[in-house]
């Protein structure tokens, strides 16, 4: 405990490093996954190809990716940019499937009604499909946020500073309190992101609030049962690395 009180500054600095790494990755993966997920949803041929590629991408273990990526894109191994790109790739890999599932969850009657009253494909996507698939997207994004925060710690072993540095430093110097502080800070940060996303979801999708009240208690720790089917729930558990 004394270590923690004496090093609050250090923990705070690493937390900020961690935020700088994970927030861009979460935001970028959502933005990039939207068009790819739409493509996977729209055409059957592209669906198979995209979902397979994305599944394989997600299967790549993090540490080897952190090492190979800089050689491919030409950044330095220890650069935070390298880590942000890798985390974004994992986020996209998760989110594409969620976007495809979310768009597919929109009732066909509603989509047909939208085109019947004259929406173009473009406006129908932004004004009908995207808002209606919002709850599924939110559930997926929460998973992406929590797993990104957790995964960013691995960067510490290749020398990118984050809350993970508390693990490597604590391990090398034999300070148990430092590792525990790192774990707690990581989990707390993940929960803060999760809570912020839930709050943002309520602001952006006020019509889900009455339903949200029942699902949130069910999902307090960031699960995705709102993603409807047990199959997709199980799939999104693949994040847990």
């Amino acid at each position: 405990m004394t270590w923690i009180w004496a090093n609050l500054d250090l923990i705070w600095d690493r937390t900020l490093d961690h935020v700088v790494l994970s927030v861009p990755a979460i935001v970028l993966s959502f933005i990039i996954a939207l068009p790819i997920g739409w493509l996977a949803h729209r055409y059957r041929a592209s669906r198979g190809v995209i979902l397979t590629v994305v599944g394989l991408l997600y299967a790549i273990p993090s540490l080897p990716l952190f090492i190979i990526l800089p050689i491919i894109v030409g950044t330095s191994t220890r650069s935070p940019l390298n880590l942000v790109i890798a985390l974004t790739l994992y986020g996209v890999a998760l989110m594409v499937r969620v976007v495809a599932d979310g768009l597919a969850s929109v009732d066909l009657d509603v989509r047909q009604s939208a085109s019947a009253v004259g929406f173009s494909t473009w406006t129908e996507f932004w004004q009908v499909e995207l808002p209606l698939s919002g709850p599924v997207l939110l559930a997926g994004l929460r998973v992406v946020a929590v797993s990104t925060v957790s995964l960013a710690t691995v960067g510490a072993v290749i020398g990118v500073q984050s809350l993970g540095s508390l693990f490597t430093d604590g391990f090398q110097r034999g300070i148990q309190a430092e590792i525990i502080a790192g774990i707690v800070a990581t989990v707390v940060l993940a929960l803060v992101f999760d809570a912020l996303l839930v709050y943002a979801g309520r602001l952006l999708m006020p019509w889900t609030r009455s339903r949200a009240a029942t699902t949130v208690t069910d999902n307090a720790a960031g699960s995705v049962s709102t993603a409807a089917t047990p199959a997709s729930e199980n799939r999104s558990r693949e994040i847990a690395r």
Binding site: A59, I60, V143, G170, A221, N234, E238
Partner: protein, 251 residues
């Protein structure tokens, strides 16, 4: 691209196929570790998951803990256990078993939950005992999702076993950490390629198994393509009262 050529050279260099640091030995260590961890985790998670899935009790606890586990950084858990019980293989075994349990548990109980309740009621109605229902109905039908859970657990263990080399002299991760220390890109990259190939091979193997264990005539576990549904999906024969109770049923 130069680096990749060097890495390939490293992969076929006969010097890397002898002694304690030989590639086949490291591969075997990595794979053996993964298999043992999965077996231990399955022994804990599968019976528990079946119990939760069959009785429906403790589901919310399982969901909440699976979510919480996802937030726990694997590296933190690994270093913490290693620091508490000492450097060596025991720490990775404990840490990785803890990490592998939630996905397998989720696979086991979601597999049971995905089964149409009417199928289970029918089994009960024809006089099957609870044990028979579990063995002959729920386990076969839930198997694809259970394999799915094992698949994500396996991926996670292979990935984290690489990190385990940080606390023990073991597995393919050794090449990555040794390469990082000595700035030997060929070794680092060669090791990374081996880990990725192993992960992809396991992924493929599990994907195939998942297809093969689907009982004939049943498509549970395969993603249903929503686009193939007719444009009028709502059945018309349900009475208004039943329609109103739909939400109650699906809860």
């Amino acid at each position: 691209m130069n680096f990749f050529a060097e890495a390939l050279q490293w992969l076929v260099d006969p010097a890397n196929y002898v002694g304690l640091n030989a590639i086949p030995l490291r591969l075997a260590q990595h794979l053996g570790f993964t298999v043992v961890t999965l077996v231990i985790a399955s022994a804990i998670a599968i019976p528990l998951g079946f119990l939760i899935g069959h009785t429906g009790r403790g589901r919310s606890v399982a969901v909440a803990s699976a979510g919480a586990f996802r937030a726990i950084p694997t590296l933190g858990l690994l270093t913490l256990v290693a620091l508490s019980i000492g450097i060596g293989l025991n720490a990775p075994y404990i840490a990785l078993t803890v990490l592998a349990v939630p996905p397998i548990l989720a696979g086991a109980y979601t597999g049971f939950e995905a089964i149409d309740r009417r199928t289970i009621d029918a089994a009960r109605a024809v006089g099957m005992s609870e044990v028979q229902i579990v063995r002959q109905v729920e386990v076969p039908l839930g198997l694809p999702l259970l394999i799915g859970g094992l698949r994500s657990a396996a991926l996670q263990v292979v990935a984290t076993a690489t990190l385990a080399a940080y606390v023990a002299d073991f597995g393919l991760g050794r090449y990555l950490f040794a390469g990082l220390k000595t700035r030997d890109y060929a070794e680092m990259l060669g090791g990374s390629i081996l880990v990725i190939l192993m992960a992809l091979a396991l992924e493929g193997l599990f994907a195939l198994t998942q297809r093969f264990v689907v009982p004939r005539g049943v498509l549970a576990g395969r993603p249903t393509d929503i686009r193939t549904r007719s444009s009028r999906p709502r059945p018309v024969m349900e009475s208004a009262i039943e329609e109103g109770q739909k939400n109650v049923h699906s809860k």
